[in-house]
Symmetry: C2
């Protein structure tokens, strides 16, 4: 475990470094608040700059570096990925969905700007993300992004998550939800970073497999944190999963077994990495960071 | 006026013909209801197949034909355009925005499937539209689509429309709203059809200009119809603009002047068409159809 903590620290430093660059690009890629419709642009910026680890940009950049990517196109992709993540959070927090008041220690978009503006700011972030990804000139990257995001990806997972609230569900269904709701966009980040770097198809499959394992691990750890943390520590409503009867690993197999499962997934994630030529050490560190994630 | 009616009939026949092809493609491009999440796929299909003139697919196809386009890519674009139009209607109808119960004579998505599914089905239609557009392999088409749709396009117009409800606004603001909320996606349809056909940049500018005029005309006629029609005739809540204090031409300059303005815009739309080499007669007919639009 000592080694894992060292790995996690390593990842934390890397992610902070990439986050700094990525955030400067978010600012460049988002419309200024002074442009009409000002309040909508303000709402988009409020949610994007509410904080966060910028994990998806970090993963995309790590994959891009691993496969020797050159040039600026990756920063369009990192903005697109973070904007899509933000879009999904804004819509998930809506009163008609999760009805959450806090996110990252601040009011959620609809609490701060009203529901109409929240819906529209999510829509606008989704659209601008596709614009940025299209500006890489890589139509295949746009296509993959949409697939990972759509009803066979993230949105499919979110919808099933909503539909299953308060119902007794199998571990298989929980896996379906997590793989789609959470892992899909993490996979997309890695695949798109690799694709923009010109990685071979076989390596893209491997890095996608790594993403699938850390994506599920990420969600399990998130659900553990929802139980063991306070609202203050989380920056969002703690205990909300239990309160709304969400389908989670801790709810189905308990906290201790959930921790074990996360550790297993960490081990699983390293296997495809070992088959890739090149320095995958930072991705290994990020996997450790994910399972040891604390505020 | 006799001639205009003949033109409009001509356009109606053309649009019906294209709609038949386009709708067969919608069916092919939308996930089947039997796929998980079934209810979400059902909701997406419900809204897409609720009817409509399929004006945007018709315009895209007409532009594609005008510039000698060949191949199947146009049908991915026509689906993308109609799915985006549907996405915008679903979100606009939401209780937190226009709060409309009826659309095309049927319950709106949120009345039929609940708000969470309505939000998600809109999101999913937006995402699948970008997937389809990316599948044309034309990254530029994706970029233009996103620009016409984003905060400097359709979404910007919608947001300003919401923000101006119940307020006294200038004709300049009404123009801003209409050009963005309505004309932008109509322009996108024409530009993308032309782009996929390989039209020269100068012709693309002209067809965009035509789209701007008919787009504004379309919205003015829509707002006239909202006043002079019954809910049954419209298939949606009649008189809702006046009730909610919407910024419209009839509200600002009266019905008669609004009709005159629509006719002027029809004349304006013909000018850029006259400068394009090739047979623009069907686009001329569609302009007539738009200003003479009846149920």
């Amino acid at each position: 475990m000592q080694d894992l903590h060292k790995e996690a620290d390593n990842a934390r430093n890397y992610l902070s470094k990439i986050a700094k660059f990525a955030e400067a690009k978010f600012d460049e890629h988002l419309p200024p608040e002074s442009d009409v419709p000002c309040n909508l642009h303000k709402a988009m910026r409020y949610s994007v700059f509410a904080g966060g680890k910028r994990l998806r940009p970090g993963l995309a950049y790590a994959a891009f570096e691993l496969f020797g990517g050159k040039g600026d196109s990756i920063w369009k992709a990192t903005s697109a990925l973070e904007f899509l993540h933000t879009f999904s959070l804004i819509h998930d927090d809506l009163p008609c969905i999760d009805n959450d008041d806090y996110r990252r220690g601040k009011f959620t978009a609809h609490k701060q700007f009203g529901e109409a503006t929240a819906v529209m700011s999510g829509d606008a972030l989704c659209v601008i993300a596709f614009e940025l990804m299209a500006k890489t000139g890589n139509a295949k990257a746009v296509e993959i992004l949409a697939q990972k995001l759509g009803t066979y990806g993230m949105i499919g997972g979110e919808m099933t998550d909503i539909d299953c609230e308060g119902k007794k569900v199998s571990l298989e269904t929980v896996d379906y939800i997590h793989y789609h709701k959470t892992a899909a966009l993490i996979e997309a980040s890695l695949v798109i970073g690799a694709l923009l770097a010109g990685a071979p198809e076989s390596d893209i499959k491997k890095i996608e497999q790594y993403g699938k394992s850390i994506g599920l691990a990420f969600q399990i750890v998130d659900d553990i944190l929802d139980i063991v943390s306070t609202t203050e520590e989380l920056g969002k409503d703690a205990g909300s999963d239990v309160a709304s009867g969400k389908a989670t690993y801790p709810a189905l197999i308990g906290l201790e077994n959930s921790r074990k499962k996360a550790l297993e997934l960490y081990e699983d994630s390293l296997k495809p990495l070992a088959e890739i030529k090149g320095d995958t050490s930072i991705l290994k560190s990020i996997a450790a960071f994910i399972i040891l994630r604390v505020k």
